[in-house]
């Protein structure tokens, strides 16, 4: 068991323990392997396990470490046509004054915050509404359909729906008087909403699923005890249910947050960053710099900052796992 204690001090350690702790099945010791069968030579065992891990680690190292150093190298150079010139960190030092870069971060956070707020709000509400319904299973199955759709296809379908000439959603929005003849993608004020909506459409079900899983673990005895004491369901929800959901919700938030950083397929199809720069979230700007402007040095610098922030987020995520999992053993 001492290995668990040691693990807990490190980021990420909780990630693979939470599943057991959250599971109603009694947690099994992680480190049973520490007791070697007497017949086996421990050193040989270690070597054996090492060779089982090696291919995967080697492959991952190959496809992750090389790009990482490549990015650092390119990020420190001026990569113009046919030449690579050291440029004294200019790719990095110019970033703070690049309005599209700074704006890209702000928009990314704004985009992600809007997505998350809506997804959590709607997702949790749906989960509470669904929890224990007679047809819960089938309803949930219907709900999760959008998650299976390729983001590119989703983007195209929504583009079709949003279109100002033949789009049914545009017709609907116009008919109820929310929009005029200007379509949702035609104004910087609404274009962001358009890409938020598609993310909400695709990924709210995930929040619902996660929350449902969390709801099943809310201690019923406590809820009932509070009821007897006269607490309203609403108070009960706030004081008992919600705190129990925090860990799973935090996991959901971090995962969605990171996915917003990682995937831009549907936004690329829908707005490509426009109009103006209204939806030019950082990954889209990075895409432009690397693949449209072919500024590999600048692109690498932007990519590195994005990567570092994503990994820091990942570490926070790992810490969150450690801190907030319900301590029931």
């Amino acid at each position: 068991m001492n290995s668990i204690a040691a693990d807990r001090a490190k980021p990420g350690a909780g990630l693979f323990r939470v599943r057991q702790i959250l599971d109603n099945v009694e947690a099994k010791p992680v480190s049973t392997a520490l007791t070697w069968p007497a017949t086996l030579n421990p050193a040989a065992s270690k070597r054996y396990y090492f060779w089982l891990v090696a291919p995967a680690v080697a492959l991952l190292a190959f496809i992750s470490i090389y790009p990482f150093f490549w990015m650092i190298y390119m990020g420190l150079h001026d990569v113009e046509i046919g030449s690579v010139v050291w440029n004294d960190f200019a790719n990095f030092t110019r970033l703070p004054s690049d309005s599209r870069y700074v704006g890209g971060w702000l928009l990314l956070f704004q985009y992600s915050a809007m997505c998350l707020a809506l997804q959590i709000g709607i997702g949790v509400f749906l989960a509470v509404a669904l929890n224990g319904l007679r047809h819960e299973k089938i309803l949930v199955t219907m709900l999760l359909m959008p998650m299976m759709i390729a983001p590119l296809v989703a983007g195209m379908v929504w583009y079709f729906l949003y279109n100002g000439t033949f789009g049914w959603y545009h017709w609907l929005l116009q008919s109820v008087g929310i929009l005029g003849p200007k379509s949702i993608l035609g104004s910087p004020d609404t274009a962001m909403l358009a890409i938020v909506i598609i993310d909400v459409w695709q990924w709210t079900p995930l929040i619902t699923l996660i929350t449902l899983a969390g709801l099943k673990r809310v201690p019923q005895d406590q809820l009932e005890a509070n009821m007897v004491d006269g607490a309203s369901p609403f108070v009960n929800f706030i004081s008992v249910t919600l705190p129990n959901l925090y860990p799973v919700l935090l996991i959901a938030i971090m995962l969605r947050f990171m996915d917003n950083f990682r995937f831009i397929d549907s936004a690329l199809v829908l707005t490509g960053g426009g109009p103006g720069n209204a939806t030019k979230i950082l990954p889209i700007y990075l895409f432009e710099v690397s693949f449209k402007f072919f500024k590999l040095g600048r692109g690498a610098a932007i990519a590195l900052t994005l990567l570092v922030v994503t990994i820091i987020l990942g570490m926070i995520l790992a810490k969150v796992f450690d801190r907030l999992h319900p301590k029931r053993t």
């Binding site: 350690a13 693979f16 599943r19 057991q20 296809v153 049914w168 116009q174 990567l307």
Partner: protein
């Protein structure tokens, strides 16, 4: 269940809440399924019919949406003229190949990582999962460079390897959780009975079978739904469904009919797979952090 019993104790307020949530749920279901329905129905419409829309505010005009003669010509076009069966095979091979490699290497690694402990193990695990966190756009250019050197651009093996970059860490991560749940005593018993270590490893594989099945399906799902890798690394010889679908957007002609049909072709298999592993979806999509 208990929660429902409790709700029934409370009179008007929670009844109102019940109604409200039922209405909300119904509306939400409509909003969730409508785009899929539109995609499905539009794939059977002639372009002219797909563009038919009532005047603003004419609610009765909604019937126009269903006013069409179904045609299979878009599907026919995809598979007869546009070589979509090849693209579908490419998608399948790329997604399946990467899933196979990820699961084989992943289960070996996950098994070992579940069975041994060493200094820095959690760092190694974090590093493994961090390789999956990288924004695709960020790593695309350097990856392209390596793949180009290895003559892998535009080939299915190249695309398989590209997908393995995000599927392998995922597989290791999830499978480790499954192996953790299998007591070491089983292998121990096997080895005491004279089995080799590898035989012992194989003997517990059936116990993590469901995990392996779920991981295979999820790896296929992730790879199948990818666009950026396929567009850049798979370009040319390994065109997948999503790239082929995007290509139907032509400067002078967005072929909405075939696009919708291609959307259905791309989506339907994944929806079916999603249903099959419905139970593992949450665990899979939350990296095993949350389990139903």
């Amino acid at each position: 269940m208990a929660s429902r019993d409790i709700v029934q104790y409370q009179a008007p307020l929670s009844r109102a809440f019940g109604w409200f949530s039922a209405v909300f749920l119904a509306l939400y279901l409509v909003w969730t399924l409508l785009p899929i329905l539109v995609m499905f129905i539009s794939s059977f419409k002639d372009l002219l019919e797909a563009f038919k829309i009532p005047p603003v505010g004419d609610w009765a005009g909604v019937t126009l949406f269903f006013d069409f003669t179904p045609t299979f010509k878009h599907y026919e076009n995809l598979f007869v003229n546009l070589n979509f069966s090849q693209y579908m095979a490419n998608s399948l091979i790329a997604a399946g190949g990467s899933a196979a490699i990820s699961v084989i290497l992943g289960s070996m690694a996950a098994y070992s990582l579940s069975r041994i402990d060493f200094h820095g193990k959690s760092d190694l695990l974090f590093w493994i999962i961090s390789t999956r966190m990288a924004p695709v756009v960020a790593v695309m250019v350097p990856l392209y460079w390596i793949f180009r050197e290895l003559e892998l651009v535009g080939t299915l093996p190249g695309l398989i390897l590209a997908y393995t970059t995000f599927n392998l860490p995922f597989a290791i991560w999830i499978l480790k959780g499954f192996f953790d749940d299998v007591p070491y005593a089983i292998e121990e018993a096997q080895m005491v009975d004279g089995a080799t270590r590898f035989q012992a490893f194989l003997s517990i594989l059936p116990l993590v079978g469901p995990g392996i099945g779920a991981v295979v399906v999820l790896c296929i799902l992730f790879a199948w739904n990818d666009y950026l890798f396929a567009a850049i690394i798979g370009s040319g010889g390994a065109k997948t469904l999503s790239v082929a679908t995007r290509e139907l957007v032509q400067p002078q002609n967005i072929q909405w009919g075939p696009i919708m049909a291609a959307g259905v072709v791309t989506t339907l298999p994944m929806m079916l797979l999603g249903l099959v592993i419905r139970r593992y979806l949450v665990a899979g999509l939350t990296m095993g952090a949350v389990k139903e």
